[in-house]
Amino acid sequence: MTQLRALLYADWRALVNDLRRAIRSPGRIAVWAAYVVALGLFFVSRIVTRSRFGASVPQADVARADYCICALLVMLALSLASGRGAIGIFRSRAEARFIIGSPVAAPLAIAYLQTREALAQGLRLLVSFMYFIFIVGPRRLGPIAAFTDLTLVLAIIAAASAVVVPRRLLPRRAAAVCAAVGAPLALLASAPALRDAAAALPPLPVARAVLAFVPAWHPGRVLLEPNPLWLLAVIALTAGAIAILASAGRDAYPELYALSIDRIDRLDQWRRRRSGRRSEGKVPKAPGSRVPITIPAPAGVLVFVWKSMVEFRRGRSPQYIAGGAALWCLAGVAAARLATAQDDAFFSVLAGVIINVILIIGISVTSAIAAELRRPLFWLAPAALFERLCALGLARIWRTIATFEVIAAGFALGGGRPIGTLFFAIGLPALAALLAGVGFAALALFPSAADARGPVTALRLGVSIVLLVPPFVLAVVVGTAFGSGPSGVVAAVLLALFEAGALIGIAAWRLDGHVDRLTA
């Protein structure tokens, strides 16, 4: 027990020191308090609104749950087969050297470390994504059931990322066997959802005929009718994997050390890329090096956009880019077909797309700002920080804009609402700019990485949705008043750009001369 106490002591002290640092900042306390209040309000709203939804589950919800559970099970199967979880077992080189060289019994140390990682990962995910219950969780579930639902999803993710098995304990060719068995299983599991989708698409009679043989079984019922027993099963599976790992004992240290260092290096590279620093570890060999990219560079801060384009082009052939664009265009065509067949499914997908755009743009701009602002090259030239941030935002969002413009083109080609699509295509850059502005302002106000996952992402999402309302309202009001849709769109674009400018202004005001805030 003394040995276990020593291990616990180090983690306990780290937690206490982290909390002490956090409570010294009133802003951080405020944002966490707001997060808890918002979750509480959502919780209550679920109790109130639950009764409005009947017992029947919309088809879109069933399909979404089917796909979700299939993806999670495939992820878990792959993790079990490869034995290379994303987390554990040692958190750092120093911890590895300390524990390997210590007299702590190896099975105890390994069991403790991996249990700690699995728990930490599960809790981190739960805190970070709790608000997802209210965004994507089935509307007919009460708060407790929705919470169980989310916990089950996150437990599977945590289990998949925490399962580490020494290679020699794995059956031979486990990965190949898993792929051979897992892929058809995943296809089979998703077949009901495919069948329902195919039934709604008139142009695919052959697929519909084939899928008609699929039994009416929906794996997504696990999520739609959540049962704590499923959660226990996942926990038992994780505990079993940890027990197998611990039983390997001291003999497994070299393998586990190599696995951990590989993971730590990858994590380090990712963090350094985010913060703009370069890893001291392995030098990544990017494809396409020594190939000059001939894109003319503009003068002034717009050179940030040029840099982004050069980086994008590097390692991507024109054929690759054209292929990607074609795929996105086809996705647009498919969405148009779905929209004409199923209105409710279409709007469900559209809502998901908008939320994803908000998250993707927010995340991509925040990673950019932190990385760039620490580079002295960023500060060369006599430009105001506001101008630099505007250029940096454009550099980060042009790819997202281009992708969605291609999808919109596909949507129009597929016969889906041409006028609405045109308005969307015109408004998209302003919408993206607004979302980038929210991302900049959120990071400037709450730069801590610990806050960024949970409350700040929720805040960003909430603020984005709130700020999207005035342009939409203005578009409707102006469009109705002048009897002209384009006038409404132009007014909305101008208002969204104004909002984006104001938000970037807040970020510039907050960060000008305060780059140290980004290291918090």
Binding site: A286, E311, L380
Partner: protein, 237 residues
């Protein structure tokens, strides 16, 4: 009497409860190299961060040619940091293009950039990606890109770290040439021999305070030996 190009007066900066700089004043003249030296945590990087606009001082003022150092400081001051953060997916030459276009440099910068790469023995690595460069090469890339911007004030934070002896000699020669061309240079270093051979003056910080400044000869006269002996004597007292 003409005022030095860069005047820093009563600079103070605190991070929460920790004082990083307290009432620090110094000057920097055109065509001189000043060494900023001090033990770890003395406030050297904070001073550089404030000078190049990364940090805002709590008190004090900075003037360039008599005018307050304001929002256009990116045209005046450039910093070469201790950690050579290059863009991993840009080649060495593209770093120079980036700086040239960002600073709207006039025509002819290509020849200067080429000459700088030649000077740092980097011509063969011209089309190599930042991610494929060694630490020393990254440092040289940043130095070349920053020098290309031709700011009248150049700050270097531990510039010799990571450079091989040939690279160090090359950088010293470049800095001497820049000094001869009238650039005001300030470099922080823990290598006191470098400061002794390269700098015209040194400013010594300890725990955020300026504790000594003067020419190398003046500093030597404070103690009984080399600059290193003097430095150890005054920072320990």
């Amino acid at each position: 009497m003409r005022e030095p190009v860069l005047v820093v007066e009563h600079l103070s900066k605190r991070f929460d409860r920790k004082t990083a700089l307290e009432d620090v004043s110094f000057t920097l003249d055109a065509g001189e190299i000043v060494g900023l030296i001090g033990p770890n945590g003395a406030g050297k990087s904070t001073a550089f961060g404030i000078l190049c606009g990364l940090l805002r001082p709590d008190a004090g003022n900075m003037r360039y040619n008599g005018a307050p150092l304001g929002r256009d400081r990116g045209r005046i001051v450039s910093l070469i940091p201790e950690t050579p953060d290059v863009y991993p997916l840009l080649t060495v030459w593209e770093h120079l293009v980036f700086v040239a276009r960002l600073c709207r440099l006039a025509g002819g910068w290509e020849a200067r950039g080429q000459a700088l790469l030649e000077r740092f023995d980097m011509l063969s690595a011209r089309d190599t990606l930042g991610s494929e460069l060694s630490k020393g090469m990254r440092q040289k890339t940043l130095v070349a890109a920053t020098i290309l911007a031709q700011t009248p004030v150049l700050l270097l934070d531990e510039p010799m770290i990571g450079l091989d002896p040939l690279g160090q000699r090359g950088l010293r020669a470049v800095l001497r040439d820049l000094r001869a061309a009238g650039t005001a240079i300030m470099l922080s270093t823990h290598q006191l021999e470098t400061a002794e051979t390269l700098c015209d003056r040194v400013v010594i910080l300890n725990r955020g305070r300026l504790i000594a400044s003067g020419t190398i000869e003046e500093m030597r006269s404070l103690g009984s030996g080399t600059l290193e002996d003097v430095f150890l004597e005054i920072t320990r007292s």
